[in-house]
Amino acid sequence: MLDQEYWNPVLETLPREKLKVLQFKKFKQILTWAYTRSKFHKALYDKAGLTPDDIRSFDDIKKIPKVEKSMMREIQNKDPFPYGDALCVPLEEVSVFRQTSGTTGQPVYQPDTWQDWEWWSECWSFILWAQGYRPSDRVFLPFGYNIFVAFWAGHYAAEKLGCEVVPGGVLDTQSRILKIMELKATAMMATPTYVLNMADVAKSKMGIDPATLSINKITCAGEPGAGIPSTKRRMEEAWGAKVFDHSGATEIGAWSYECRKQPCGMHVNEAMFLVEIEDLETGEIIEEPGRKGKMVITALDRIAQPCIRFDSKDIIEWDSESCSCGRSFRLIRGGVLGRADDITKVKGVLISPAAIEEVVRSIDGLGDEFEVVVDKQGDVDRIKLKVELLPEITQISVENRLKDQLRLKTNLGYQIEYYNYGSLPRYEAKAKRFKDLRKKDTAQKEGRP
């Protein structure tokens, strides 16, 4: 069993036409469930003049209205308290509460039944098994165990697989590193930002080379970093471990994963989720590889507060290649490429923070941290990039290469500021490295808060 590549040898290799049959059946099932049990969903579909019976083919799915996070915020804090009308089960069936982080506005509450929670860890089991987690692994989880879903389901999935799980909750970074060393942990789950931060603390404050520790695989989530080649390389070199990407969200579930073949992308778990990619401008559903769009996603089996055609704002694109691991689940190229909210125009050029990260981390003399600030000088956009020089590295040795690469990869000229190593902010979970001050400037000029 342990040499088995797949968590589910049937589903993960199911021919695509059969996967579509399965997805369609499950989509209709969850749609009917929500329509008959949630006032929110019924009103949404009634307004569009649709009932589940109107969805007769796969092509009809796109007729179903999307759900935005803002809609969930509006219905919450009402009865059944605090979830409101999207709740599809009696309140006493809810056994788990989580909430979104609130980085894009008021947090959204997420109720789950025990079955939903089993489903969360089932989705994570696909991920961990594909990344080589096995019962012999001792898995260290250095995250704050609290109201945010983060790696909670990873914890339960690792237990389900038979791994030994070490919850590294309320410990500081140095204590976590010592615990990894003391217990000879073999695997770890964290955000890319924290993986790099831990390595930095180990080296600079403790004199420990993390590559000499026993960690041989790391699962990342929460940020695109593990899908950005230069960031992945930095993490792998720092820890002497394989680093795998995964993507999930509180309102959605754990929907994609990189396998052991590391195909520069992630498999969508198409047995549990239906992923559609929508053109950012026309709203058309993109089927072909190589065209970026916004992900609209359905969790096919989540029942307490269903996630049906959720407008995730994640930017992804289908890969033209299939994976040598043999999974029939489609790949998204480079993982999650960014957020629609973060992709902005500067001097008329579309930029994504991930593209800047790829450049900064590909330059060997620069530290891991950086910051991008966009503002206006008069009426003209200005983009400032703050980077750190590693000890004993001079500005002149990296300057030309950095400027050239930025120009090549992002089509923009930057005002670059160089800082001493350790000067820029460090983050323990998701980093906030991109600041667009233009909206704030406009609001201030117009006297808005």
Binding site: V10, K25, W114, Q115, E118, W119
Partner: protein
């Protein structure tokens, strides 16, 4: 060598376990330790259904690993 699986037999066994747990949960309603553990076990059984039974129901199991026609 790949192990051949009798997917229909696996499916039948999952459904048998489910039926037993439903019965146990219902009949032990005055015995919280049994009824709540049954309910919890049913959530695990549901995961086995998602992993296999939906495929069998839809007749999608003519798979290289399957011994079923």
């Amino acid at each position: 060598m790949k192990t051949v699986l009798d997917l229909n037999q696996l499916n039948d066994n999952i459904l048998k376990v489910k039926a037993l747990l439903i019965e146990l949960e219902a009949s032990a309603s005055s015995f919280p330790a049994l009824s709540r553990n049954s309910k919890r076990a049913l959530a695990s059984v549901k995961m086995m259904e998602l992993n296999l039974c939906d495929l069998v129901t839809l007749g999608l199991t003519d798979h290289p690993l399957s011994s079923n026609p």
